[in-house]
Point group: C2
Chain length 317, copies 2
């Protein structure tokens, strides 16, 4: 591949649902709608600089080494042997932080996608993963690839190993719809990890890996009934759901509306529900929203197909 | 379907490997070679009688209500509304008891397959499962469907629920070969269950369900490398393998010979290894046998493709 003539690339990466039911820590998927855009501009001055961040009320650091997008790009440039070049990053947050929808992952994925395209695509989308994981590591303290893999690759992804990542893209059945509801409350990721017990009952773990195998089979077979029968989490959800007001009511409402399954997105407070077809998704979303309205909590509601594209180039010149 | 004119049917069901790596309690597959034959003969005298059992040194009960094959047939006849008919069962054990290769499951599966055919096949192979599970329940005290599902259906099977069974047949990649080695020692299934801890570390359970999902994906994709990367069991194998003399040496030998994975079959003492292609299977089997020869243990060695047929009719008139 010859030298790229581009001087400006803007990429978008979507919001993602991680910890999908029985797939705690290992299964994620991407949705349409919310996400982040990151633009990369070549500069004569060596080094990676973050020159603007919008849409986040000043909560994210401008120092490249402390910013997940910045760190991801540094990691990419190092591997590409391009540490000498100059890049300006502009980050547009188009989704809320701390929602359980992979906000930092979307920035990291968009940043590496933009810079990779700027350099003439020395890396495949899959090869970009380790760089984005390094950025995530800085954000959360532990390397987690489930959000970032879904944000980069789109569709359902199974993360067998986080660092270095061993990620298996899974099929996304065509009629699968997703509802995501984001109640406007804050949950600290660290706290939501602390309340988990270090040990689990073997019999529950067995049911979890049976469901995990069955869910993967359901995705391959496009067997919506099997997907529904497998979307259970008896280990994490019972512990974490108590931190989310209205959780039981929302889940009950979604299931009554015909959802295949419903659980916590990431470490919350967002919930996701998967449905077969758009109309069930609408009904499930409505039911979930009704519960939050009743307890007086504001929320965002997103309905979409599974996003099969992942990170995409929006603009270049 | 009209009334069957048959008066005699003999069926065969194969030996099976359960607890396949990360799929403890939920994943099994069938092999070629060892297995049991059961014949069913219509009789004028109402009731189910076991009239002969061969190949097991008198260890199995002739009382229908205490014999797994007998119980399975009683359960079938009850559901079919045929409790009034007379059936004589002849059981030919062609595989050792207590080997970890699903001996009682093979008898149950062959028995229900034979009687179902005798009756003109009122049930599909999948519909026969609950009957065979009832027989297994009597044998082991807990309902376990992994051996019996593989013995009936063939191929790889994922058992999402044991009783009533919810079983998902999985693809069996064409180049997959299996080595089973059965050291001639005895392990009590009950004891091998007792030594398991009731709780497991969450981080290990997470790796187990990541591997489980990845293994299922590997089977669907015919991705032998992914199958190999996923065939790990960090939870059960470390505890149970200490009961099997030479386990570590056999596993090391199999892996050095190119096996994709190697672990305990059922609750032991047999080991299985999966390979890509026949020649690796031969080399793995040789290496495993060498270890047992060195410590002076006799053994049986079986090499085969995955058995995709399950229970089959051998003879009828």
């Amino acid at each position: 591949m010859g030298k790229s003539q581009r001087t400006f690339v803007k990429a978008f990466a979507p919001a993602t649902v991680a910890n999908v039911g029985c797939g705690f820590d290992v299964l994620g998927f991407a949705i349409h709608g919310p996400g982040d855009s990151v633009s990369a501009t070549l500069s004569d001055k060596a080094g990676v600089r973050i020159v603007s961040i919008t849409g986040e009320d000043g909560k994210l650091p401008y120092e490249t080494e402390k910013n997940t997008a910045g760190l991801s790009v540094l990691s990419l440039l190092k591997k590409a042997g391009k540490e000498h070049i100059g890049i300006e990053l502009r980050i547009e947050k188009k989704m809320p932080l701390g929602s359980g929808l992979g906000s930092s992952a979307a920035s990291s994925a968009a940043a590496v996608a933009a810079v990779n395209h700027l350099l003439g695509e020395p890396f495949s989308q899959m090869e970009l993963l380790p760089f984005a994981v390094e950025g995530e590591l800085a954000a959360s303290g532990t390397p987690h690839a489930d959000n970032v893999a879904a944000a980069l690759l789109g569709g359902f992804v199974l993360v067998k190993e986080h660092n270095p990542p061993d990620v298996i893209p899974l099929p996304s059945p065509p009629e699968l719809y997703c509802v995501v509801i984001h109640p406007h409350i804050e949950i600290q990721t660290r706290r939501s990890r602390q309340i988990l017990k270090k040990e689990v009952l073997l019999e529950k773990a067995i049911r979890q890996w049976a469901n995990m195998g069955a869910l993967v089979a359901g995705l391959f077979r496009e067997d919506y009934s099997l997907i529904g029968r497998s979307l259970h989490d008896e280990i994490i959800e019972p512990v974490r759901s108590v931190m989310i007001p209205g959780f039981q009511g929302m889940k009950k409402g979604a299931m009554e509306a015909g959802a295949l399954g419903c659980s916590i997105s990431g470490s919350g407070p967002s919930l996701f529900a998967l449905t077969r077809g758009e109309s069930d998704a609408h009904r499930a979303g409505e039911k979930m929203g009704d519960v939050l309205k009743e307890i007086g909590l504001e929320f965002d509601l997103h309905l979409s197909e599974i996003n099969r594209k992942g990170a995409v180039i929006e603009e270049e010149r």
